[in-house]
């Protein structure tokens, strides 16, 4: 048992964890016929149930999953997996119908919706059941109150509400102004922009994957991987001092993390050129600044010419540049994560003199 727990503890390392999540996304998209099979569906369900049921026997894991704050996240894992599987299943089945020339199943169904009694009745039942769930929940799970707040003692770990834990995870890689202001702002702006930049009518009112491959994959990457799985990571795997802990590991406050990260400027000036850091910070950070400029200003036109040329043609210049900008911003997180993990890169641009770091 300890061996199995050990494996999970190792897998749960943020690097492996992120890698495995991406891998499962790739599998899900690439081998979607296999993924949507009931065998895989039940398999995942049984695996998750067993994992939480048996894992719950471990005192450390039990402490984490039964914390009233964390119980919704356990529910979230089941629901997220189910709905991802279900929608992919509907999409693939539709794709098969479309391939055969039958059109999506939704088109075959009548347009009529029975308001009375079907809709109203089911709504009423849903209302009642939701009330039952909320009442029982409020009885069984006590409000997670703590001792009076003390400015001299910060709770350790200090965790954001569960729905912001993905954002908090970004703080490991970016400065607060980016992770807490710019990137969340862009998420909201991007979500608002979607209806205006996506004028493709396909997939409207029916499930499909083949017709919207890129869009769905991008969405899954952004929502399931970058948002939801980072919430799960932040809830279950981040302990005191925001250190990483395996699910079956004791949250020891004394655990240390070696701080050996370096900035890009050091890579360039010290390691590559073998000199010291220039005293002028603009000169010192020039490589990083150039790199960032290239990323946001040079890369999009290049992509318009090559790589994403079909999209450029389809969307037109304004829509294309907005889309590519949002896409690049989204990708900046995994890029920064990879750079950190592979090269111990702390900041691409680091100007502590004016509190500006990227």
């Amino acid at each position: 048992m300890d061996f199995i727990k050990g494996i999970f503890n190792v897998i749960a390392d943020p690097r492996l964890y992120f890698f495995l999540m991406v891998l499962s996304l790739v599998f899900m998209v690439w081998k979607r016929e296999v993924f949507i099979s009931k065998a895989v569906g039940y398999g995942v369900l049984i695996f998750l149930t067993l994992f939480f049921a048996l894992g719950g026997l471990d005192p450390n894991f039990q402490l984490i999953i039964t914390k009233p704050d964390n119980v919704p996240i356990v529910g979230l894992i089941f629901l997220l997996v189910f709905f991802t599987w279900y929608s992919m299943r509907e999409a693939v089945l539709n794709d098969q119908r479309i391939a055969k020339g039958d059109g999506p199943i939704e088109k075959a169904e009548s347009d009529r919706v029975w308001v009375w009694p079907d809709l109203v009745y089911t709504e009423l039942i849903s209302l009642i059941l939701c009330s039952v769930v909320l009442i029982v929940w409020s009885i069984l799970l006590k409000a997670p109150l703590e001792q009076p707040a003390n400015r001299a003692v910060t709770p350790n770990p200090s965790k954001a509400p569960w729905y912001f834990l993905g954002l908090q995870e970004m703080l490991v890689y970016f400065d607060p102004w980016l992770a807490g202001v710019v990137l969340p702002g862009l998420i909201i702006a991007g979500l608002i922009a979607i209806p205006y930049i996506d004028k493709n009518p396909k997939g409207n009112g029916y499930y499909t994957f083949v017709e919207r491959k890129v869009e769905i994959t991008l969405f899954l990457f952004g929502f399931v991987i970058l948002w939801s799985s980072l919430i799960v990571l932040g809830t279950f795997l981040r302990g005191p001092n925001w250190n990483f802990f395996g699910p079956f590991e004791y949250w020891d406050t004394h655990k240390l993390e070696a701080l050996t990260n370096v900035d890009l400027s050091e890579y360039f000036w010290v390691r590559m050129l073998g000199g010291g850091l220039p005293s002028n910070y603009v000169v010192r950070e020039l490589p990083g600044i150039l790199l960032c400029l290239i990323y946001v200003a040079v890369l999009p036109p290049l992509l318009a010419k090559r790589g994403f040329k079909t999209y450029y043609d389809k969307l037109g210049a304004p829509r294309f540049y907005v889309t590519v900008f949002l896409f690049l911003m989204m990708m900046s997180l995994p890029i920064k994560m990879l750079l950190r993990w592979i090269f111990n890169l702390k900041y691409i641009v680091a100007i502590p003199e004016i509190f500006f770091n990227i």
């Binding site: 009745y121 009642i128 059941l129 039952v132 009885i139 009076p148 003390n150 400015r151 003692v153 004394h254």
Partner: protein
């Protein structure tokens, strides 16, 4: 299903009906569950159980009232009542007539009263309107003025009418009274006898189970109106909780369950229904800490606002209770509140919340012994602590060490003091749990050798006053040591430091002292301690040189173990390595090596010695040359009791994460938090091991828990007055000089009592001292004590304190004696007015049977001697002598002085003299006493020892 869908349904409606029915049932059940969950509270059951208990207790009390001796009068009274009623019957016709008239008059009175009241109300309104109108327009109110006057007139008439009817009624009642007064008187008497019974019956009726109360007023959802089960709380505006961002009045709901805490009669019931064990001091409404203004949690700590057992942060007093609670209440280490309840045996730690920095708090024996232990162990020397500043260094001076000890002995001593003297307060610095492995031995020895070498190299030369003293008789010396009072501060036979207590171990335990130092040193020390150490607390016992020789010879016979020998001898390379460790912590390695290379062996050892002493803080307790101004090394403990558990490092020690557990572990094995860690030698913990046993450990935990952040506002503290300052400072002073080792003061101390056959042979009680003696005499006496009680073996030493401290002590005695005017002039003419009749009484009462007048007479029994009365006129306060004669045992319980004027017949006397008036007789005796002259006086020869016994 398919059929139904075909006629236009997306779902099977029959199935939906079933789902709807089932989910409605779920909702119904969960709603009931929710209401029940909200209704079902731990404290309600507790209150229900208490109601039963209260019923039992009240019924028992009710049964008790039946047995009251008063009730014997009942039958006779009832008979009288029956007779009186019969007599009243004879006039029944007239009585009925008057009653009829009375009811008419009452009705009339009611009517006129009402009219008068209404007239007054209308008049008030109109008068105000008139006043306002007249102020606005003085001219145009002629008409209204008339109206107002008429109205006032009418009101007067009505009032007169009321008075008339009232008089009529009074006349009727007086007439009725003629017939009924006897019955009324008897009925009143009966009610009085039955008063307690009636009261208790009413209580029972109130708490008895009833349908309305139990099933209606306390029913779920209805219990918001007027429930009998309610949360009870005490809000204390002057006593606050610190919630970090604000201080808020405490709201203690403890009495929701501890319902009988302030009621007598529940002493023997289990918690939570037990009466507070000390209602006189706490909780009781006439106590200095009443429940309504003090609350509970300022002393007990815990979360007062909570009504759940665990949420209130109860804390078990011992492991057994912990187990019981875990089983009964699912108790767990509280984490919702930073200041969980103190275990009951440590509650006194909270006295400091308001009695700040008082070393002695009356009626807090555990806290007082905790502080005494804290001081005696010298904790304050390394750990700065508020209230313990500027005290002497607790250990002996080491600036003249070479004149007293040998290097070998000192090495063995510091290696393991307990091997030589198991009761010493000297802690073990080396060979502790983190420096005990064989690999540590060379380093330990190198450090010990170096530190000792430093001490001896920096020692002044000590020239004894008597270079080669004569030997004495050890038997006689032992006799002196055991009788003269040495044992007030020194222990000889005891093997348990905690049992001997901090007062008896105030001075070095004398065990093994013979193998420690030389005869010459001991002789000189006993002869004049201040010669070796001018600042020593050791007083001068005024021994003759022959007695000194006897005592010193006896002390040399107190030999013991030579201690533990060094397990290894460090090589020079090892010594160098140790010194290099110290140096490279301060400077770059190359520089350190360079400095090391320049030193010869001696220089290396002395340099290392200095650094070792600095690292372990030896100088905190001992005077060491070169460390006169060095700051102590320990953590400041002034607010340690408020420290949050998150601030304590439990490292790899497997104990529950609570403050008390941490303190316990730290005191038990100060180095244990190094356990399992990889550390450089100089990174290791360095608090030495004092071998505190469980009792001392708990005392020190109590002391530490009392060191709290100052949270309570000034309004919660005892008011400051000069008297109080004298008292508080004096209490500290008599403890810091260990006066309480021999004398009992304010009910504390006087340990010497246990060493003498009879309490009368112990040093005198000093509580009444301030009321008793004249301050100028006391000042002279303290500076140069004289023999007051020649029959005592134990004697008052000459302390040689400075005036500041003598004044502090005298002020303290005056304050405890409630004696505000210190220095007074007495008119001796007036004081000795009645000396002649006094003399007669003096002889009649045979005062001289015990009291000495000059020489002890052959017919006086030595076992019951009393002080020489010739001292009275300059020693005693005249008004105190009166108090004393009137009732000696009230001033000094257990005294052998008889009470000649017992309470009955006082103020009459059983002696016929002076008109048989007790107070006059007492005064006469006092006056006679003040005629005596020629007794011993401390004032003659100013300060020099007068006579010794």
């Amino acid at each position: 299903m398919a059929e139904k869908k075909a006629v236009g349904h997306a779902y099977n409606i029959d199935f939906l009906n079933v789902v709807f029915a089932a989910s409605s049932i779920f909702l119904f059940v969960s709603t009931i569950w929710m209401v029940w969950d909200d209704f079902d509270r731990e404290w309600k059951n507790t209150q229900r159980r208490f109601t039963q208990l209260e019923l039992e207790v009240t019924n028992a009390q009710l049964a008790q009232t039946q047995k009251s001796p008063e009730r014997a009068k009942l039958p006779a009274l009832q008979q009288q009542l029956a007779a009186a009623e019969k007599a009243m019957e004879a006039n029944r016709q007239r009585i009925d007539e008057i009653n009829g008239q009375l009811s008419d008059v009452d009705a009339r009175l009611y009517r006129v009263n009402k009219s008068a009241q209404f007239a007054k109300a209308t008049y008030d309104v109109n008068r105000y309107a008139f006043e306002a109108a007249r102020t606005a327009n003085p001219e145009g109110v002629g008409e209204r003025q008339k109206e107002i006057e008429a109205e006032a007139q009418r009101l007067n008439e009505l009032n007169l009418e009321v008075q008339k009817v009232e008089a009529e009624r009074a006349a009727l009642q007086a007439e009725l009274g003629k017939f009924t007064s006897e019955v009324g008187r008897l009925q009143k008497e009966l009610t009085q006898i039955n008063f307690e019974q009636t009261r208790l019956q009413r209580v029972v009726a109130n708490i008895e189970p009833s349908l309305v109360k139990d099933y209606f007023r306390n029913a779920p959802l209805l219990d918001f109106m007027a429930p009998t089960l309610t949360v009870r709380q005490v809000v204390t505006p002057n006593v606050v909780d610190d919630v970090n961002f604000a201080r808020v009045a405490k709201m203690d709901r403890c009495t929701t369950c501890h319902l009988a805490i302030d009621r007598r009669g529940y002493e023997k019931y289990p918690q939570p229904f037990r009466t507070h064990p000390n209602l006189q001091a706490y909780v009781g409404s006439d106590s200095p800490h009443p429940l309504a203004t003090t609350g509970c949690t300022v002393c007990h700590q815990g979360l007062g606002g909570s009504t759940g057992f665990n949420d209130a942060s109860h804390y078990p007093s011992n492991p057994k209770q912990r187990e019981e609670w875990e089983e009964k209440y699912h108790w767990h280490e509280p984490h919702m509140w930073d200041y969980p309840m103190l275990p009951t045996n440590m509650t006194e730690a909270s006295c400091q919340q308001c009695h700040r920095q008082e070393v002695y708090v009356p009626q807090a024996p555990r806290l007082n012994v905790a502080y005494a232990t804290y001081e005696r162990a010298g904790c304050y020397a390394c750990h700065k602590t508020k209230g313990f500043e500027n005290l002497r260094k607790p250990g002996p001076i080491l600036t003249k060490i070479s004149g007293k000890l040998t290097q070998d002995w000192v090495k063995n001593w510091v290696r393991d003091p307990y091997a030589i003297k198991n009761v010493t307060w000297m802690p073990k610095v080396w060979y502790n749990s983190n420096t005990n492995s064989p690999a540590d031995h060379p380093r330990n020895e190198a450090e010990i050798n170096a530190a000792v070498a430093y001490l001896f190299a920096n020692s002044e030369t000590y020239t004894p006053a008597v270079a080669s003293p004569p030997r004495g008789n050890p038997k006689a010396g032992e006799q002196i040591v055991r009788s003269i009072g040495c044992l007030g501060c020194h222990i000889v036979d005891e093997n348990d430091r905690a049992a001997a207590g901090p007062r008896r171990t105030f001075g070095q335990p004398l065990k093994s002292v013979g193998s420690k130092t030389t005869y010459t040193w001991l002789y000189n020390w006993v002869r004049d301690p201040k010669h070796y150490n001018p600042a020593t607390y050791m007083p001068d016992l005024r021994l003759t040189d022959a007695q000194v020789a006897d005592v010193a010879t006896y002390l040399t016979t107190l030999t013991g173990s030579a201690g533990t020998a060094a397990p290894v001898t460090p090589t020079q390379a090892q010594v160098d390595a140790v010194l290099l460790d110290y140096l490279r912590n301060l400077m770059p390695l190359a520089e350190a090596q360079g400095r090391l290379a320049k030193m010869d062996t001696t220089a290396k050892q002395l340099d290392l010695g200095q650094r070792v002493i600095a690292r372990y803080g030896c100088f905190s307790c001992h005077d060491i040359k070169g460390f006169e101004t060095t700051q102590p090394i320990g953590v400041d403990l002034s607010e340690e009791g408020s420290k949050l558990v998150t601030r304590l490092d439990f490292a790899f020690v497997d104990i529950p994460h609570s403050k008390l557990e941490w303190f316990h572990q730290k005191l038990k094995d100060p180095r244990s938090f190094d356990q399992g860690r990889v550390l450089e030698p100089l990174e290791k913990l360095r608090m030495p091991d004092f071998r505190f046993n469980a009792v001392e450990n708990e005392r020190l935990q109590t002391a530490i828990m009392s060191f709290q952040r100052e949270v309570q506002p000034a309004s919660a503290l005892p008011p400051r007055t000069a008297m109080r300052d004298f008292t508080v400072n004096g209490r500290a002073l008599v403890r810091r000089q260990n006066c309480v080792g021999c004398h009992e003061i304010e009910g504390d101390g006087g340990d010497y009592k246990t060493l003498v056959a009879d309490a009368s042979l112990a040093p005198p009680l000093l509580t009444p001292e301030g009321a008793k003696v004249q301050p100028d005499w006391l000042y002279a006496f303290l500076q140069g004590p004289i023999t007051i009680r020649p029959w005592l073996d134990v004697r008052m030493p000459t302390f040689g304190l400075d005036d500041r401290r003598w004044n502090g002590i005298i002020n303290y005695f005056q304050a405890t004696g409630r004696s505000t005017e210190q220095f007074r002039t007495y008119d001796h003419q007036q004081l000795t007015q009645m000396a002649a009749p006094g003399r007669e009484l003096f002889e009649l009462l045979q005062c001289q049977k015990c009291h000495v007048l000059g020489a002890i007479r052959p017919d006086q029994d030595r076992a019951s001697l009393a002080p020489d009365l010739r001292m009275a006129h300059e020693r005693l306060k005249p008004e105190w002598v009166l108090d004393w004669l009137r009732n000696p045992s009230r001033i000094q319980p257990g005294t052998r002085m008889p009470q000649f004027w017992p309470t009955p017949p006082y103020p009459k006397s059983s002696f016929p003299q002076l008109g048989g008036d007790a107070d006059t007789q007492i005064r006469a005796i006092r006056d006679y006493l003040y005629t005596f002259r020629g007794g011993p006086s401390p004032r003659r020869g100013a300060g020099a020892a007068q006579s010794t016994n």
